[in-house]
Symmetry: C5
Subunit: 345 residues, 5 copies
């Protein structure tokens, strides 16, 4: 079921949205129940409830048919079970939905931080492209390299299924890669490197400050993601909710048997599928990094940062034609892009 | 039903609000049910429930009238269905309303980002008009051009029904348009161009930084909208809610038939209309760009940016008359505006 | 009922709060029902429900007393109506309360933006008073004038019941007033003017940037308020809620008649008053500008901005006495304040 | 009951928290009901419900015992009352809890703003102590004085039970106190004074800007608190909730009498205590300044600001010993602190 | 039970998450009920309910078996108790869940502030490492020392179980430790010291401002945590909720006995365990510092700050090899790191 988490890494575009909104989605949802990864993960819990319900129904049926010795009691405490079930069902529904919402909030926060990482990676590259002096070709390339390296180092930090070699050997120089690989904390080291690059370029300290603000943002993203990973919702909260749910579901067959007879088996299975499904969604979203498409975001960062690096000379040419800037001989600024290729893509 | 999404692009003004608040709105709402696009989109699902209810009622009626051979069972498991329906209805209501609220939150976020785009487009033009030196006529015009171009490029990004030619050929010069059209990521390129314009104007780096902050904001809007487009609410969440709803509605006729008889058909249809309507609203708001009036916002940006460009000389004249600024011969700053017209509107 | 919206423009002070908290408020609330503007606005909808209930009760009574020909059916489908009412009441309550909360959120957002406008108007005047050089008397006065003008222009934008002449002829000079009046977008123009004033004063560009940040805030307030005005909560959401509510209330008498008899009339009226009242509050708060005391806020801005302008010399004198600043001959800085009076109040 | 609001000004420390968490708190809560200020404030409303319940029970008992003439009707419309009570109880619970939550949100916002005031008062004093040149002894002392004066002036603004003389005569010089006392808006004037002090010190405009940012924060706190005071939750919202609650409670005895008999009196009193208590909490928190320990926060600000002023020389000495700064003869910077005492504490 | 709070200080990593998500968690939750610290803390309240239920059942049984003299009444007022229980259960569930959510919000806020402290400690060290001139070796070391000292001083402030000697004697020099120990407010003093260090280094005031922004953030964290500690959720709110809960649970056996008989004892115990558990979670999370792993965060800060200090020379070497910076003889900058060791770890 850990493997199934990869199927949650959804990326939508217009066609998927149209399918998502299709008026006939209800048919698809109803008849593809078996493909629900959520229900597959919750299967053991649902099966447990089915088992209890079957035992209860068998016992009750045997008793009612007088197939049991007289010393066996009837399932009489069902008034008690009913009292328990009915007096706690609103609290259970509220707890479950709030718990799932808290988890969804964590997922949303993680997604926003990674979205912010994309925004600010583009932004810091834009600042570098326009604020670094035109002759700082190597610095611009180093900035691009390390910005990409930071996002990939962050991905490795939260999806340990990939290694630093596979992710970064086409991005960084071997010396840089080695330095990063043996660091105690790689994303911190990558931000440090970007910071040194910015500080080493001769430019207004105002512009340095501005780029540095994005590094502070990177630190907030890094630390924010680490917080989500290290600190789950207080486990006493989630465990109490789960205990409450499983106890409720285990007592449910006793409460329903007298009115439903054998029907107790499908009914309890259905209710368990619905409620365990909600709980399972909460559990899956609570640690969001396994279900986020971090690789897609990293590729996007790399593509956009590299495009900005490459298009810089081009943009300047157009503006120069419009008479807005007087270009330094354009050959100089065009060269680095060409020579950047071998290292970067 | 994809076409119907255009009808959701509401823009209100005072008269519409008065109508919206009319004390007699209840009559309009009750008697114009058939004009509800929401219910039209949900029609297949509602029809399915109606069909099931009709079949259930027919079967039940036939059975009760002894029109069926004796081997057919009665619709007896209704105690089970009732138990399922009643034990899950609170959870269903909570899930549905929370799901719709999450979608509404996404719509609201998208609307706020596009509102912010309008605010900051006005703001960056104000900064350009006042901070660029008076002789940088071409730079001011280029700033206005590209600010408008960014918002329109962003619209094309999220409403692919319009093309770059139709949107931008009256705004940019042909060379600029060509550069933008062949870019890998057009909005990123437009921000890059604005950044170059700002950097190329001789002015205090403090003022450059300030304008650059708005470009960072533009990057946040761009990335924020992309996030909403690429990342739906975890599909396991929305699909579980939909599955739960459709299963609940399919079992509902079985639970209600014994007490309502043929009335089960209109009742189940009504309940389906209410609940599927709520779900449909959630689905429609989840991808908000199709239902936002982005064209109106873009036109507003263009009108206000151009007005600021045109009014700049006028504002300075008034302040000069009040003795606050000593004008550079006003002809110079008045000319660009006139010559800006052909290119811009 | 549009006129009644003015009664919602509440401004509290300590005595009103004491009354608001009075332990005997329950008596006032119970016995002043007829003064509730909310219920007055919702009267047509409530009357409709009363009418339906009366008809249902009359018909039912006639039928029970055998006063009708036998071809008329009894109001028998009430099991169906009861099923509809009971299966949707939780969803209805949740939808109504969430809808009202969303509207309240919009009201709160508008109030916070106007509060922020007050804060930052005071702040920009403080910055002007302390950062503008002492000899820039005219610039300080112009800053005060235009800051007040911006807030009043914004009010006109959102409460079109007042005109630019009545609001601004005592604030701006005739030339300025004319310029503002014929602008395409007046608040944008006012911010532009403030921006020009700040840029025209010889001072550190750091301080200019700082004041300019408040202008960016003004742009955010302006655009944020425009967003609330132009973009209602998705109308499909509010209309579906209203339709659901009115259909539910119309079916309610059929469900209740068999158990309540003639009592159905007061009961349905009462329930309609409660629920339509909640919906009405949602409708009233959705467009918040009509129910906010914008005039009071504008007066507050004018009073505080003018007081800061007037007290500036006084504050400096006190600090000079404490040996902190060495004053430029105080007559110079005292004069402008005196001469400011004729134009400003 | 206005006096009772002072008992709500809770300040906790570790021992109070241990008591708060005590496993035996349930006993304390159950047996100290009579000390609840909330219930004492709600007493008139609760008594009203008790009275109605007693009258209903007396009438019903008299009727059942045939002690009334036959022309008196039985309390028969109870089916109607039951229908009203049961169909609105979910909406009532939701409204009450949301209303209390909105009020709690206001309390929380006010507490956060006053907490922010403490943070930024410490921060501006830190900035002054480190950024003001060492020879600006008087300016540092004036900054400390006015920072404390601002927080106390703000307290007077929101807790009019204290006067400016009692709060500030040991803080400010007589001339300053007089200036502040006769100001139209005292907190605005205090910020203005701090702004002038900062502007008058010869230092980098970057550092001035940084300190000025904290003044902008002060303006936001001031205006934010004024907003909470002036603008209650829309009164139509709170009044409709209160009306709904009191009408519901008044009809409750009619609905319950037939099943509970004389038990209706304690039951209705109990339900009224619970629900009126919730409403009362909402009312008390809505205007939060009367129940916040503003005096404790002001004392904290004074203590910390003065400590920073006093410790400044000490800190520098330690750092100088570590070779980090070369001190100006330490006597100079030690003196002001000593001489600051008489004026400040 | 105060000791048990240490068990709540959870820190997760990938293996714990896999266990947390295990499909078989339901079994673990059901069969390890006895290890729940939440239930252990709530034991006295749960026992009270069990006791009441047992007494009610014994009395009822005795009465039904005619073992009591006739003067004893039956437990007849159960219609009243049932009316109370059923009319308040929704409000109780909502109050409980909202109360727990408010507490969770406080826990989350505290965790975010401590996470932010980690982020910004790394950030300020990065800024120091790159912005301080290369020859300011001592200043960099002092910055590292005091950044670590601030976080540990903050921990002592909120977890008084540790002393300043145990936490800081390996970090600060003896003179610094003594200065900090005898301060009136240690965290404020630590920020003051960092501020002095930054101000004493010869560097651009822009970079000073940037580092100072992080000190303002530190002040916000410090004050924000103090606010959470000093200001509980209004005690009238939490106490009313607790009173309501305990009264409801005490009356519950009277309402349930007639239908459940002796079953009332386990049922009431179960319901009490569920609801008191929810309340207990709210109480535990309300003061979050006792249940947060502040020591782990402090160790993380120390490790990362020290690593940045140590890696600084290394990073520069790599960048120099890439031709980006021309190094000052590297021996100089390598030395401080070596000599930093004895003092720091």
């Amino acid at each position: 079921s850990e493997e199934a988490r990869k199927y949650f890494r959804t990326v939508y575009d217009f066609p998927q949205w149209q399918k998502h909104r299709s008026s006939y989605r209800f048919a698809e949802r109803l008849f593809q129940l078996s493909q629900s990864h959520i229900l597959q993960n919750a299967l053991p819990a649902i099966s447990w409830v089915t088992l209890v319900a079957t035992l209860v129904a068998s016992y009750g049926y045997s008793y009612d048919q007088h197939m049991l010795p007289d010393v066996f009691p009837s399932i009489s405490p069902n008034a008690s079970c009913t009292a328990f079930i009915s007096n706690t069902s609103v609290a259970l529904s509220l707890l479950l939905v709030f718990r799932t919402n808290s988890s969804y909030g964590r997922w949303d926060e993680a997604r926003k931080m990674w979205g912010g990482l994309l925004n600010r990676s583009r932004d810091i590259m834009r600042q570098g492209a326009t604020c670094f002096p035109d002759d700082q070709v190597e610095a611009k390339k180093a900035l691009a390299r390390w910005t990409v390296a930071f996002s990939r180092a962050l991905r490795i930090h939260f999806q340990p299924e990939v290694t630093i070699e596979s992710e970064l050997q086409n991005i960084l120089t071997p010396a840089e890669l080695q330095m990063l690989a043996k660091s105690q904390h790689r994303p911190v080291r990558a931000i440090h490197a970007i910071s040194q690059i910015i500080q080493s370029v001769p430019m207004s300290s105002i512009h340095q400050q501005q780029m540095s603000n994005n590094l502070t943002f990177f630190h907030d993203v890094l630390g924010g993601c680490e917080r989500l990973l290290r600190a789950p919702i207080p486990v006493s909260y989630t465990r109490h909710t789960a205990r409450f749910l499983f106890a409720w579901l285990t007592l449910l067959p006793f409460a329903l048997y007298p009115t439903t007879g054998w029907g107790v088996v499908p009914v309890c299975t259905g209710i368990a599928a619905v409620l365990c499904g909600i709980e399972e969604i909460g559990v899956q979203c609570e640690e969001p990094f396994g279900i986020l498409p971090l690789d897609v975001i990293c590729n996007r960062i790399q593509a956009d940062v590299m495009a900005t690096l490459k298009d810089d000379a081009d943009t300047k040419t157009i503006l120069a034609e419009a008479g807005l800037i007087s270009l330094i001989p354009s050959a100089t600024s065009a060269t680095p892009v060409a020579s950047a290729e071998p290292v970067l893509v």
